[in-house]
């Protein structure tokens, strides 16, 4: 016997919404302009669905960046009705407006239409060395960590690098060299990780003229983060660590290494060989 589930309202056009989208083609335009499109909205339709509808049915020249469509990859962050959001997670009907204004993320250079150049985000992220740094020999097993030690930084692991926080940050708008909330939150994430020993290596970047002290604590980054990360909190905690380091010294205690595991040792050998091969090439 087949059971047919009917989802009431799905598939029916509920209303027509106007999308006012900022368009900019560096090859043709000198300044950005707004264009309006009428989109029939069905239940469950997201802003990204609306943009794709426009692309498929009205104007194929419209550019937007997206990938997973489920709020994981962070590619489709844009400013929707004045606030940074993931287009794939924003239901059109929940906005409860007949006009939806879509802008690309702010504080970035623009590639085209709704596609910002996120190099600044990735470069700043890279500059804080967002990985576990250890001074000891290559590991022969996992580094051991208690659940309560993980709790110290757990929230900050949720970052998906969508770049919404940098777009909302007022300091970022003024100071081109500012590290930004994303990089600072990730720096704290690794410094607070009991397995990490890389505090000293990150210090010069963080405790600099354009580092952690330039945050004005507007809190806009935390307000707009689609994953509920609180970068403003990380920045305050990081300031505490740096202040402690300046006057009392801050020492990281390395997490212990677990029982030796052949798979880890062999895995490392394979990895080393691959690195050597790639270096030869």
């Amino acid at each position: 016997m087949t059971v047919q589930v009917i989802l009431k309202g799905f598939g029916e056009v509920i209303k027509e919404v106007t999308f006012r989208i900022r368009r900019y083609d560096p090859e043709k335009d000198t300044v950005p302009k707004y264009m309006e499109y009428k989109v029939p909205v069905k239940k469950g339709m997201t802003v990204l669905d609306g943009i794709l509808y426009i692309k498929e049915h009205i104007d194929p020249s419209l550019s937007a960046r997206y990938s997973c469509r489920m709020g994981i990859c962070g590619s489709c962050a844009m400013i929707i009705n004045g606030r940074e959001r993931l287009a794939c997670q924003t239901q059109i009907l929940e906005l409860n407006k007949d006009l939806i204004k879509v802008d690309p993320l702010g504080n970035y250079n623009l590639i085209k239409d709704l596609v910002p150049d996120l190099s600044k985000l990735f470069n700043n992220h890279k500059s804080v060395k967002p990985y576990i740094i250890r001074n000891d020999n290559p590991p022969t097993a996992e580094y051991l960590q208690k659940p309560e030690e993980r709790e110290k930084y757990a929230m900050f692991t949720e970052c998906i690098l969508c770049g919404a926080c940098l777009s909302a940050c007022p300091t970022m708008a003024a100071d081109d060299l500012y590290l930004g909330p994303q990089a600072l939150a990730q720096a704290y994430r690794y410094i607070a990780d009991s397995r990490d020993m890389g505090f000293e290596e990150r210090l010069n970047v963080l405790d600099s003229k354009h580092g952690v002290w330039r945050c004005h604590f507007a809190g806009a980054c935390s307000e707009v983060c689609p994953k509920g990360v609180d970068p403003a909190l990380a920045i305050q905690l990081l300031r505490g660590v740096l202040m402690k380091n300046s006057f009392l010294g801050y020492k990281q205690v390395p997490a212990p290494v677990g029982k030796e595991r052949p798979t880890v040792v062999e895995g490392l050998k394979v990895l080393e060989e691959k690195i050597k091969e790639s270096e030869k090439k």
Partner: protein, 130 residues
């Protein structure tokens, strides 16, 4: 000097401005001698008016002749100068964020701050020495 140490001084001087600024206000408003100073005239339990208390230049200078007060004003000048010019440095380095501009801003704020500090110290000393 690391930025964290500079910022610690920035927060500390912010706090000290409240304290020394309060003492400055206290000195000028309540402790400066004045021939016609009479803070309140009580006409009734609910109706009283503020009269007198005008500041006279020569009487204001009198308070500077006290070594303790002169020291308070000098400390006030020190913390205000540091806080203000470090604040300007921060604002300007955000607005003009190239590395070369950073150096120009830092040194020019240091020089202007020193000039202001020396000029202020000279004023306090002249008043102290009469």
């Amino acid at each position: 000097m690391r930025e964290s140490k500079i910022m610690f001084l920035q927060y500390l001087t912010g706090l000290l401005i409240l304290i020394f600024g309060g003492l400055h206000f206290l000195a000028l408003s309540f402790l400066t001698p004045s021939p016609d100073k009479q803070l309140y005239v009580y006409q009734s339990a609910t109706n009283h008016t503020l009269v007198g208390g005008a500041l006279y230049y020569n009487y204001v200078l009198e308070i500077y002749k006290n070594l303790a007060w002169a020291a308070v004003f000098e400390l006030f000048l020190t913390v205000v100068t540091f806080h203000a010019f470090n604040g300007f440095r921060i604002i300007l380095s955000e607005q003009f964020s190239s590395p070369s501009a950073g150096k120009v801003i830092s040194y020019s704020m240091l020089i202007i701050g020193l000039i202001v500090f020396i000029w202020g110290t000279r004023t306090i000393l002249l008043a102290f020495l009469g």
